[in-house]
Symmetry: C2
Subunit: 343 residues, 2 copies
DNA sequence: ATTCATGTTGCATCCGAAGTCAAGTGTGGC
DNA sequence: GCCACACTTGACTTCGGATGCAACATGAAT
């Protein structure tokens, strides 16, 4: 029984331990521990007495001591590659809400560059997280590391290449097909595409789908590579206009931020009326997409449902290890908006 | 020496402990511990041998065991009230970058409502965070709780009422004075104000400053209370237009999101040319504020410098407890933009 | 060769809560 | 009044790494 420091009774605060509470309540440390574990064998009266003492001392069980022995930390690592992107804050907000509601804490990691992932994993391991939700590109080798350590993960809008991993994603191909279908039906023929960097999984899926469905109609579209941000949308539109000699019917951007950049550039630099003279579509359905100035024609990802699913799947796998990796694909919602002339 | 399970050598992964590494390297557990503590008394050759064994087993020191004994968790709680706000993701991104760079992990808490703070504090205490950065409104009582537990905190764009607390903030009053000064100098006389909820500290500072400087010019402006989001900016403009019978020269919104909503509403609903027929200013300097469609006249908060300062101050206080609370005030940068007619 | 300082190493202990187990309490049935 | 049984309780050990301390090694100084 360590008791070097006087109890300094009633001084709520700093370092109250279960021993301090036990002493004040006149019980053993074990009793205090049991009082805080729901369903433990303890008399209601004793628990009450202990809780009173605990409140008086401002005692809260030390999660580190608890985690050490129970091997459950209640920590979930959330890895997000690019927080300044408009899309991820919405995801993060949902995830933290859902995780908090189920008694988990969020250990947040964000990356300045995808190459930092290995470093970052080294920062995760010591904390023995119960699980991880990852919205960044993981190599098979990295997925395997989680697997070897017995840490369940959910990939968010990503999938494992060869290594199987549970994932939640929005059906990019289907969404893009829908967009292209509408654009073709409305008579657009001269297309331009603004895509993201090649290392983005969903980005390439959207791009592939767009090209495939355009090709099916005998159309080939010039491509500009951007960075998924607003500025590269502006640059993209400029590049496409030059490449096409100004003869464009529609521009497909593989996310909303670039679409919005393209819209502003089309209006500001080329004085084009959107959608009368040029249709522009995006993908994601972020908040600003519905703003009056844009009213983007886009596919809205069901972020809430996706986040909910990610959390549910993760918790299942934490409670019951060894579940088979499962890919859950969500359909996006077509938002007609007003940035594209529709059939 | 616990050794129930065979070393299962070379199987990198799950539960390697310092004892496993010690055995493989042929040294004591203490040696392993020392190998991982920089500056510890250990021979370079021994360390190298240990590191090789550690790598082979995929060993990483258990942060929970370490935190238990050292009383340093390397965790920093970051509390953000409203993640879907455009401003906070930028702050969060900066904070996580800076904190990671200094060897700290971010334990993220976000609130759906300010009233949840008490609950949330109960979730923080068990993790014995080394410090906290808080962008939410704390009551004096809550600040005192951190203080009692010896956890340094930095308030971000907030200040303690009576209880002193270290803080980092952007000078709202000065920024707003600048905006009003420019608007007055350009001849605007009929003003409207769109403010946030009354429970926002910086919001009220901006509002007070605006009113005070307008009053000094003999001007009183109608007020609409919004929620700091885009939609309430639209609502605000509509309300002000009705209240003023359409006779407005300038609208001051106390943040950018509302200003952008107001701009789109002015253009879309009232067909007004911005800034020729109506000037609209915001506050914050978020990313979208500089987008072509808005080019907001606003005050840009030096987010990077503020985040850097918050992290620096926090770490100082972690390393050296008992420092005097210090308020650091940053000046914003006036962005002329094109949403206001300037003198 | 002896002494001493400096540098390394292992042993034992500690951090704080949780769980095992055996002892203790109380109740009801007989 | 005695016994069986369910319920409570406390002593002790455990989780995994850090650290004070004493033991030991090495080389330099004498």
């Amino acid at each position: 029984m360590p008791k070097k420091k006087l109890p300094e009774a009633a001084h709520a605060g700093s370092g109250a331990t279960s021993y301090d509470v036990a002493e004040l309540a006149g019980v053993s440390q074990s009793a205090v521990s049991r009082a805080f574990r729901k369903g433990a064998s303890i008399a209601p009266k004793t628990r009450e007495k202990i809780m009173r003492a605990a409140k008086q001392l401002g005692y809260q069980p030390n999660a580190f001591a608890r985690g050490l022995i129970t091997r459950r930390t209640n920590l979930v690592a959330v890895v997000i590659s690019n927080l300044t992107n408009l899309y991820y804050p919405e995801v993060l907000a949902e995830l933290t809400q859902r995780l908090s509601a189920t008694g988990h804490r969020v250990l947040l990691f964000s990356l300045a560059a995808e190459s930092e992932i290995d470093e970052m994993l080294g920062l995760i391991w010591p904390y023995r997280v119960d699980g991880a939700i990852i919205a960044a590109r993981l190599k098979d080798e990295q997925i395997r590391q989680f697997h070897d350590r017995g840490i369940p993960i959910i990939l968010y809008n990503r999938v494992g290449d060869a290594e199987p991993a549970a994932s939640v994603a929005c059906d990019s191909a289907a969404g893009m097909r829908e967009l292209v279908k509408h654009l073709l039906a409305a008579g657009h023929r001269r297309f331009g595409i603004i895509a993201g960097p090649e290392d983005s999984y969903v980005g390439e899926e959207r791009l592939d789908s767009a090209r495939r469905h355009l090709a099916a109609a005998g159309i080939e579209a010039p491509l500009h590579r951007g960075r998924f941000d607003y500025r590269s949308g502006e640059e993209g539109l400029r590049a496409l206009m030059e490449a096409a000699g100004g003869k464009l019917d529609a521009v497909i951007a593989t996310n909303d931020a670039m679409a919005m950049g393209a819209i502003d550039c089309a209006r500001g630099t080329y004085d084009l009326a959107i959608p009368e003279q040029l249709s522009i579509v995006g993908f994601d359905g972020v908040g600003p997409a519905t703003w009056g100035g844009y009213q983007l024609t886009t596919i809205r990802q069901p972020v809430r449902r996706m986040a909910q699913a990610a959390v549910d799947m993760l918790i299942e796998r934490i409670e019951q290890p060894g579940m088979i990796p499962e890919q859950r694909l969500f359909g996006g919602e077509f938002l007609p908006g007003r940035s594209a002339r529709l059939g």
